[in-house]
């Protein structure tokens, strides 16, 4: 209440002064690469907050892609009068003009000095958001903004446009060729892990966002039904995200039942299998799906896939190279330490680690989730094939 009144009086003040800070509407650029993130008026750093513009709706995912412990603030915006079409499995069909934004940021460490490198290693989002705004805006005094990636639906298809935040945290500048930023992850005991935070270039964005190698079209990955089908704490109150989108006219065709839903990956009350597969889906299935760049490997790690062999159970590797870690099968039920998949998600060495890019550190909690899941899988890989096929004394 107090906050609303303050905002109102600030707006009034700005109007009186004829000030240029009067919020401008979202600007969709049909082509080109504007130099500043603020040119779009999607999210802006102002008055100590990073806040979405009017009509720009924040959202989150049941399981996010791991990005070196970065937290992410996502938004969606569509031109007035347009709407996305629901799809149960694939990405929604978004209208031309849609702008998705994803701001990568870190909570500042509560115990480390506020220097240029130190950020917190935590999944706790409690201090991320501005007081009184629920999950509607970030509290800039508590976080360090790193980059904001826009995914823009233009006439010819989606384009990825990366922006890197300036040191003063007031705006972000275009960084199409990517960047590398030295950071230290500081955990609650003060232990540090130095790593290069890598901002991908625009072609590398396609490395994940092209989920069909034949079509070669960039697609959004997160905003799918199973990842969105849960509550979000909007400034106006908590509501299921899909329902909220439908009410706001952002989504049509939402069925009243049968909408897939993945549990939050770190919700200990949900079954470990569903959580593990939600984690694998968001981290792996953009490549490891039947039409994806990694369909060479015959792994299908989509949540929707129920064929255990295609998860890698008792499956020999195909092109793992050194990534096998001297293990023989992708997943050995009950034996995470004999499973190549564990080795690759634990490593942070280029050429071994999975995913191949997007991280330089290990998702310790995600790895533990997959470990628990593999440990829980029944069965074994022995005796599936007669060891020596019949041999007859004969010439070829």
């Amino acid at each position: 209440m107090k906050r609303a009144r303050l905002a109102a009086s600030l707006t009034a003040l700005a109007l009186l002064a004829g000030c240029a800070r009067v919020p401008q509407p979202v600007h969709f650029f049909a082509s080109g690469y504007p130099a500043r993130l603020s040119d779009w008026h999607i999210v802006e750093a102002r008055s100590g907050e990073l806040a979405p513009n009017a009509g720009v709706v924040p959202y989150d995912l049941a399981a996010p892609l791991f990005s070196d412990y970065a937290h992410k603030f996502r938004t969606v915006w569509m031109p007035a009068g347009t709407t996305a079409q629901y799809d149960p499995e694939g990405p929604f069909a978004f209208p031309v003009g849609t702008v998705l934004s994803k701001t990568f940021f870190y909570p500042l460490s509560a115990i480390a000095s506020r220097d240029a490198k130190s950020v917190a290693r935590t999944w706790d989002v409690a201090r991320d958001f501005a007081p009184g705004a629920a999950h509607g805006a970030l509290q800039l005094s508590n976080v360090r903004l790193i980059e904001t990636r826009l995914l823009v639906r233009r006439e010819h298809g989606w384009e990825a446009i990366p922006y890197v935040w300036d040191a003063n945290q007031k705006d972000a500048h275009l960084a199409r060729t990517g960047d590398a930023i030295p950071l230290d992850l500081v955990d609650t005991s003060g232990q540090r892990e130095a790593f290069p935070y890598v901002v991908p270039n625009a072609n590398q964005c396609a490395g994940c966002h092209v989920t069909n190698v034949q079509a070669k079209q960039v697609e959004p990955l997160g905003p799918r039904a199973r990842h969105l089908n849960h509550d979000y704490a909007y400034t106006t109150g908590t509501e299921n995200q899909l329902v909220h989108w439908a009410k706001a006219g952002l989504l049509t065709g939402l069925p009243s039942a049968g909408v897939p839903s993945d549990p939050a990956w770190n919700d200990a009350s949900a079954p470990v299998g569903a959580r593990a597969r939600a984690w694998l889906d968001i981290n792996c299935s953009h490549c490891h799906n039947p039409t994806g760049p990694a369909n060479t490997t015959a792994l299908d790690l989509r949540s929707a896939n129920t064929d255990a062999r295609l998860w890698g159970v008792c499956k020999p590797p195909v092109a793992a190279g050194r990534g096998t870690g001297d293990r023989l099968l992708d997943i050995v039920p009950g034996k995470p330490d004999e499973s190549i998949l564990m080795y690759r998600i634990t490593s942070n060495e280029a050429g071994v680690m999975m995913p191949e890019m997007g991280r330089n550190t290990t998702d310790r909690e995600g790895v533990e989730l997959i470990r628990a899941w593999i440990a829980s899988l029944p069965g074994n890989c022995a005796g599936l094939q007669p060891r020596n096929p019949q041999h007859r004394e004969t010439a070829p």
Binding site: R176, F195, M357
Partner: protein, 411 residues
């Protein structure tokens, strides 16, 4: 005391963390500027563009990714225009291409974290006078594949070299209509490997100093199964490098000293090659069952047995005198004596009994060795080498020559 310990631990962590990804130790300002410009050229490339790589050693720390069709990347020569990825932070490939009508020529890619040059899902791919090398020599730290077109159509790899891959130097996978000629592969686990690919002509190459010289493989669980490869006019000499591949990979089961290996791949013709001094065997013909995966289930639709294999008119010398592995050594000594050697061709002895007609494969599916002076050792793999025997007349047959691969002319 405890604080000292903690400090020491911290230093250790700092010293060995991040796999050398030390941002502070990165590129010179000149290299950074070069990389920015080059990255922009790769991002903004349009059909018809030629991206020039000037002579010199250019240090890069991020993969070069191309997604535009019809682009040529051209240097001043594979000994002059060198892209060095020693300080690589992101990748893991050196150059990663998702495009059609792509040509890369006259340049070198060195020391990438992962594969050197990977080309995915492209039609009309030309790789010419490209050197991909790991300069530290053979090491498990090296990338898996040096030159790596996969799921491509119309692939030409010529006058190029691949050195130090911990898997295959020139690896063409899941592709169709392929010419690999006049290349040099050394110090790789596999020099040249054609895997799950159809219609490949591999000729006038030199493979030496690898674990295995030229491999024609079919593996299960892939998007396609290959057939119809011709291996001819190559020099396949002294591929005796100790196998340094990671366990679990297909090539980890390649014995050091293998000249040509045909595994589970049908319709292969090996002829007119100089094959010498490969100390396990100059030619090995094997099923999938001889690999590490002997007791794992191959996927449906996959034929693990090699069929329609035709070996003829090669010039063999030396080789087979010091096979890799205790089983093989013991077999060699017991059959041929301390100073003897295996015949030029080894066959693992696994037979697809379902395909037999009167105890023999139908004529078109046989394993044929034409030349009367070339013997084949059936090692009796199914019975752990219990009843090995030398085959002579049993393998004297001929198969129709396979047609030459023809690639569409460049526009």
């Amino acid at each position: 005391m405890r604080q000292w310990l903690m400090a020491g631990f911290g230093m250790l962590v700092a010293a060995c963390g991040q796999n050398g990804n030390n941002v502070q130790q990165g590129l010179s300002d000149d290299d950074k500027a070069f990389q920015e410009r080059l990255q922009e050229q790769f991002l903004d490339a349009k059909p018809g563009d030629v991206i020039e790589i000037p002579a010199g050693v250019h240090a890069l720390d991020r993969v070069l990714t191309l997604r535009a069709d019809g682009v040529t990347v051209r240097g001043a020569g594979s000994d002059k225009s060198i892209l060095s990825f020693k300080n690589q932070i992101s990748g893991p490939e050196g150059m990663l291409v998702y495009a059609n009508d792509f040509t890369v020529e006259k340049l070198a890619i060195e020391d990438s974290k992962g594969d050197g040059l990977k080309i995915n899902d492209g039609t009309n791919i030309t790789i010419r006078d490209v050197r991909v090398e790991w300069t530290r020599g053979p090491s498990l730290e090296n990338g898996a594949y040096a030159i790596y077109p996969v799921k491509c159509k119309n692939v030409l790899v010529e006058d190029s070299s691949a050195i130090g891959s911990r898997d295959a130097g020139i690896y063409v996978g899941q592709s169709q209509d392929i010419i690999v000629r006049r290349n040099r592969a050394e110090k790789n686990v596999a020099g040249i490997e054609i895997e799950n690919s159809s219609r490949a002509d591999v000729y006038e190459n030199t493979t030496t100093g690898n674990t295995g010289g030229i491999l024609i493989f079919n593996m299960p669980d892939l998007t396609m199964h290959g057939s119809h490869s011709r291996v001819f006019k190559n020099k396949i000499v002294a591929n005796n490098l100790g196998n340094f591949a990671a366990k679990g990979t297909a090539v980890a089961s390649v014995p050091a000293g293998s000249g040509v290996i045909v595994m589970s791949n049908p319709n292969v013709e090996v002829f007119d090659n100089d094959i010498a001094d490969n100390r396990t065997a100059n030619v090995i013909i094997s099923s999938y069952f001889i690999t590490n995966f002997a007791d794992k289930t191959p996927s449906a639709g996959y034929d693990p047995y090699p069929k329609s294999i035709y070996i003829h008119d090669n010039r063999f010398s030396g080789g087979g005198d010091s096979p890799d592995g205790l089983d093989w050594k013991a077999l060699k000594v017991s059959m041929f004596g301390l100073n003897g050697h295996f015949p030029d061709v080894l066959w693992d002895g696994f037979v697809d009994t379902k395909a037999l007609v009167d105890g023999q494969y139908p004529a078109a599916q046989r394993i044929c060795v034409k030349d009367s002076n070339v013997e084949v050792l059936d090692v009796d793999g199914p019975h752990k080498f219990a009843n090995p025997k030398v085959l002579k007349d049993e393998v004297r047959c001929e198969l129709p020559a396979l047609p030459a691969v023809e690639l569409p002319a460049k526009a």
